[in-house]
């Protein structure tokens, strides 16, 4: 017996509330059981069997809330086989326990330290350049993309069970995470530079030129393998000193 598509969509919707009842003893266990319950109702007509199935999904579970969608999908894949008598009742739990850690790492690395900071930086740069609509646009694109990816992971988990690992490996998310981190860092630099330049420009055109000069000196120093923080402080100090000195020469304002 297969879980019908409408029930799968319902389970996916409930996956969005995975952390709503987060607790220290079972972590996301209640959220997981709540999410998978519609599928279990379809698979186990007998209330005793359904209760037993629901109970095994109350075991401690913790994963990244986005990548966990693949595990919920995969758990349904295994539950279908348990209901059909093709797998022992422990199979869905074993699947969850093995994948929760690695998929949490994938999710933390890709979403929390790659994609989300990248979109945050993009929103910052966009808002500086174009105003608040850029912020709204960045939020919309980020959420559309992550929801699409969550649905894709959920479907891949449901269709391929254990093979979802192979499908995930093909996405090479850690490599994308590292590209996004680099891209995000560049965007943060651009945002900081644009902020500094517009502040300097408000003082006088010469202050703007000075800020650009300080930035170029800093980049050259980094190119010569100077260390980041000392270089940044040194450049800021020298730039401020030059700014203050030239004001003194012009007799101040």
């Amino acid at each position: 017996m297969n879980v019908p598509p409408v029930t799968l969509r319902r389970v996916f919707w409930r996956c969005l509330f995975l952390q709503a009842a987060w607790n220290r003893r079972g972590m996301q266990n209640l959220g997981f059981a709540y999410a998978i319950d519609p599928a279990l109702r379809r698979l186990y007509a007998d209330p005793g069997k359904r209760r037993e199935a629901l109970r095994r999904h109350l075991a401690t579970f913790n994963c990244h809330p986005y990548t966990a969608a693949a595990i919920v999908g995969g758990a349904i894949h295994h539950e279908e086989r348990v209901a059909a008598g093709q797998e022992p009742p422990g199979a869905p739990l074993a699947f969850k326990q093995v994948l929760q850690g690695p998929l949490a790492a994938v999710g933390d690395g890709f979403f929390w330290s790659g994609l989300r900071p990248f979109f945050g930086a993009l929103a910052a740069v966009g808002t500086l350049a174009l105003g608040w609509p850029a912020l709204v646009a960045a939020l919309l694109v980020y959420n559309a993309f992550h929801l699409w990816l969550r649905w894709t992971l959920f479907r891949a988990g449901y269709r391929s069970g254990d093979e979802v690992v192979v499908r995930l490996a093909a996405l090479s998310l850690p490599a994308w995470a590292s590209r996004l981190r680099d891209g995000g860092a560049v965007l943060c630099g651009v945002a900081a530079g644009a902020g500094a330049l517009s502040a300097a420009g408000r003082i006088s055109p010469w202050a703007g030129v000075l800020a650009i000069g300080a930035a170029v000196a800093g980049i050259v120093a980094l190119g010569l393998r100077a260390r980041l923080l000392p270089t940044a402080y040194a450049v800021m100090a020298v730039g401020s000193a030059v700014g203050a000195a030239t004001q003194v020469f012009r007799g101040g304002r």
Binding site: R24, R25, G26, M27, T60, N62, H64, A94, F95, V98, L99, Q100, G101, P102, L103, A104, A105, V106, G107, D108, G109, W112, S113, D162, V165, V166, L168, A169, P174, A175, A177, S178
Partner: protein, 164 residues
């Protein structure tokens, strides 16, 4: 050298790969766990999350060459499932001479375990085990991620007794 030995019921996850691996500058993660080593799914999944430039292996605890890891030029992070496994590892050769710090990251709630930190629940036997490991020479600490304040054995015992 072995930079850190960590007890974590979820083995390799975000706290390990996003938190500890960059913090320690580890190039290699060794999961010493019989159950994970038996599961092809676990072995495939562990490699899924690895950042570029970091390698991982999943081996049965007794198959790990602790001496070679101790001599390795790149920093190694060792992951063990629970306190009992850490004691097994000690007798197999994961000695305080090879790794100074024994870090406890995640031990989930189970019947008979008391809460010591938000992510660590310990039974009386496990506190006893940590005491033996500290007596053997390890610096025992509970610390989920590098930026957390480490909790030492005395504080673990105080909290465990207070939770009873």
């Amino acid at each position: 050298m072995i930079a850190l030995a960590r007890i974590d019921e979820r083995l390799v996850h975000g706290q390990v790969l996003v938190g500890w691996v960059p913090h320690l500058g580890a190039r290699r993660v060794v999961v010493a766990d019989d159950e994970a080593a038996r599961s092809p799914l676990a072995r495939a999944a562990m490699s899924l999350a690895l950042p570029p430039g970091v390698e991982a292996s999943v081996d049965p605890l007794n198959a790990v060459d602790w001496e070679a890891l101790g001599r390795s030029s790149d920093p190694v992070l060792v992951v063990l499932r629970d306190v009992a496994e850490a004691e097994r590892a000690l007798s197999a050769g994961l000695t305080p001479g090879r790794v100074a710090v024994l870090n406890v990251g995640n031990v989930h709630y189970a019947l008979g375990r008391r809460q010591v930190t938000p992510s660590v629940f310990l039974s009386g036997a496990e506190v006893e085990g940590l005491r033996r490991l500290a007596a053997a020479g390890f610096r025992v600490e509970i610390r989920a991620v590098p930026l957390d304040v480490p909790i030492d054995l005395a504080e673990i015992e105080r909290r465990w007794n207070a939770a009873g």
